[in-house]
Symmetry: C2
């Protein structure tokens, strides 16, 4: 049981919530951190799980293990269902938790722009479960194609279609190209994985639109070198099992992946504060909601404009700085000092494209290719939680780099895919004999 | 496409089937290896996945990757539905595969002795999916207990009941004790994981009955030192959600695991050959079925007596030697030499009990404790497939040994457990306020 100190409830253990909790732990407060999962996920490397490069346990760590030494922090794995800002409580399924300060860092999830029926056909990449589902579909597609080809007939069409040219779509496309064109060589007898086409479809005029135009162009060239077909603008109008439509054009798709949009957690709408079109809470300059200086919103769930009037991007550095700021602000409150506004310090942006391919933007300095990739690699391994994870991911990475092998190529669970002949129905009583 | 050489179809890529395929690959034959999974699982370390020590990708490798260099081997991920021994075909869902030689190595699965309704209540450990399900339940039990305790009331009863005192049951019990009593310390605020009880229930008179009695006794002592309560004989008569019954005694169980029995794959019964009580095919001295010298059965699906009249145990060394023997026998057939009978060479047995605890039996030499554990460790890492896996598992292991941390403590998927209050039903509209 925690002592009688100010109670801070933190909702969500992503970058923002976890950073807030870690920094608050040094103060004379009692902290309750609530998350639906038992683990913090290092989202920037999730695409490596989806593409079988590393195992989930290497980029995700139990929240209570991360905070194990902090005796004034408790962790509850549960789902928050609502808030009562007047009574100052957070509502769980079976319990109401009172707070003195509330930090809501519930993040974002995929958005299908009103086409929720597309979700089972084109999974997105936000959680460990999502990554495992993408991995399952990608690997299974090659297995089903080989099975089909063993029976004879033409070479199955193997298109992987990735919708959305932001950082996630680019990472997935680049890495899938490496899998199809290099990793799987010599492993199949009836299909040729090199005949796989990787298509990256971006609805807007260029991929990686938050970067400078010259870096977008460099990313396109690097993707093409890896064997990815980039199409922008190419607005997807329909997704069927086994196909994606761009206007009147039907593109057959063995696997379709969604990296086109996110929307804020629905918890944002339960705070009684104004939200933007993507459901993000429009916070005050101290990251609080109107009339509630004790309620903060941080990370992807919040939206705030920088000094130029541009909204801060939904990236880890913003969430981390916001989490740290909120802890500092509460520390200031406890000492009765006046609050200062949040200011984001932009240290530059990095996006990986694939093997030895990346872009980096540090204000006026734009870097592409191998050196950008090295910078990306070291930044990402450095920020991984846990020394053991850093060592293991580095070993995995070095191994994959030199051998073109990927260490986690397991298919688990269901063995059917949308758009493929269902293995369990309508098979004639006497199947054909192999030629 | 494979050339016009004798066709060998191998069903199952466990130790026996994979070893047969690897050795056959050197011969002028064309080999088709069929498995329901895309990966070979190193079953002796599956309990490490179930107890969050290593990730699945570290003890399982894609079958087609293992055999990537062998151009006369093709791998099909599919389920065999039957055989036609007269027409010499293997029946898949949508295709019949003709063969000249057939090797059936479909292995075994859990058996609930006619109580199939126990399966959802007490999962067993045979596949990667099983291991992830056990991991989910074990980790989730602590989370649900903490959640319950946060609301107030008495300390939740946290019993882990493992049914079956064979090698798997012993490994699970020893490792779960380490998790409860050491790994999770300092991580919970409202429960004390040390109050977890680990019960190992064996229906027969002693655990590890295939070992010498003095080693069984040593294993009991080592388990007790790790904090496991061993009960033998304790025959389970009923399993409820949340409880296990031994006769009239009801033992509350937060998680129940099944390690009590296996039965051969149902494919054994489709060969028209005699099977024993556990469904294993009673093979000839050359591992073939009666009247079909071209049809071999190896591994856990076969049963054969040694020179003393005792059935060979269902362990990896038997399957490996059988697989190798069959490849050699087919090689002999191709050169028209007479067949020789299979003879198993027993090189000793090793069973691990937990951290620095194991037993080893090399004929008259019986070893217990640290040195048996070291022997067990090195044998098992040596036989892991893939150099990368060996390095990573060794790093993980050394790390866990010195820090008492386990690297793969992720809960994914469903967040409910049988026997626990279901999070989604009957919660009163106004939950209580935390005290």
């Amino acid at each position: 049981m925690l002592e009688n100190k100010p109670r801070v409830v933190v909702v969500g253990a992503g970058f923002g919530g976890l950073e807030a909790a870690r920094n608050l732990a040094k103060l004379p407060v009692q902290i309750t951190l609530i998350d639906r999962k038992n683990h913090h996920t290092f989202q920037p490397l999730l695409y490596q799980v989806a593409t079988a490069g590393v195992s989930p346990g290497e980029i995700a760590a139990p929240i209570r293990w991360i905070l194990r030494g902090r005796s004034n922090v408790e962790v509850i794995m549960d789902e928050v269902v609502g808030f009562d800002l007047n009574r100052k409580t957070v509502q769980l399924q079976d319990l109401n938790l009172p707070y003195d300060y509330l930090i809501v860092a519930a993040g974002a999830q995929h958005s299908y722009f009103g086409h929720d029926e597309w979700e089972p056909l084109a999974p997105g990449l936000k959680t460990v479960e999502d990554a495992l589902e993408i991995r399952r579909r990608v690997l299974l597609a090659f297995e089903l194609a080989e099975k089909e080809a063993v029976a004879g007939g033409p070479h199955p069409t193997l298109n992987f279609v990735i919708i959305g040219g932001g950082p996630t779509g680019v990472e997935l496309a680049g890495t899938l190209a490496e899998i199809a064109h290099r990793v799987l060589q010599d492993e199949f007898r009836s299909i040729d994985p090199k005949r796989t086409r990787i298509l990256l479809l971006e609805g807007g005029p260029r991929i990686l639109p938050t970067y400078a135009p010259d870096l977008s162009e460099s990313a396109v060239r690097q993707l093409q070198k890896l064997g990815v077909e980039v199409r922008a603008p190419a607005m997807v109008t329909k997704i069927d099992p086994g196909a994606v439509w761009v206007g009147e054009e039907r593109i057959p798709a063995a696997v379709t992946l969604w990296a086109a949009g996110v929307a804020a957690s629905s918890l944002g709408g339960k705070l009684g504060a104004p939200v933007d079109r993507a459901g993000r809470v429009m916070v005050n300059a101290d990251l609080t909601v109107p009339d509630h200086p004790e309620v903060f919103v941080v990370g992807d769930l919040a939206t705030l404009k920088d000094k130029h009037g541009n909204p801060l991007p939904g990236v880890a550095p913003v969430a981390l700085q916001e989490g740290r700021y909120v802890a500092k602000t509460i520390a200031g409150d406890l000492q009765k000092s006046a609050r200062r506004n949040f200011h984001y310090v932009d240290k530059g942006s990095l996006a990986t494209v694939g093997r030895a391919a990346a872009i980096a933007e540090f204000k006026k300095i734009h870097i592409s290719g191998y050196f950008a990739w090295l910078a990306w690699l070291f930044v990402h391994i450095f920020f991984l939680i846990g020394f053991r994870n850093r060592v293991i991911v580095l070993v995995q990475w070095a191994w994959s780099y030199f051998t073109y092998e990927r260490g986690a190529r397991l298919i688990t669970g269901d063995t059917t895919l949308p758009g493929w002949p269902n293995a369990k129905s309508d098979s004639e009583p006497e199947p054909p004999l192999r030629k």
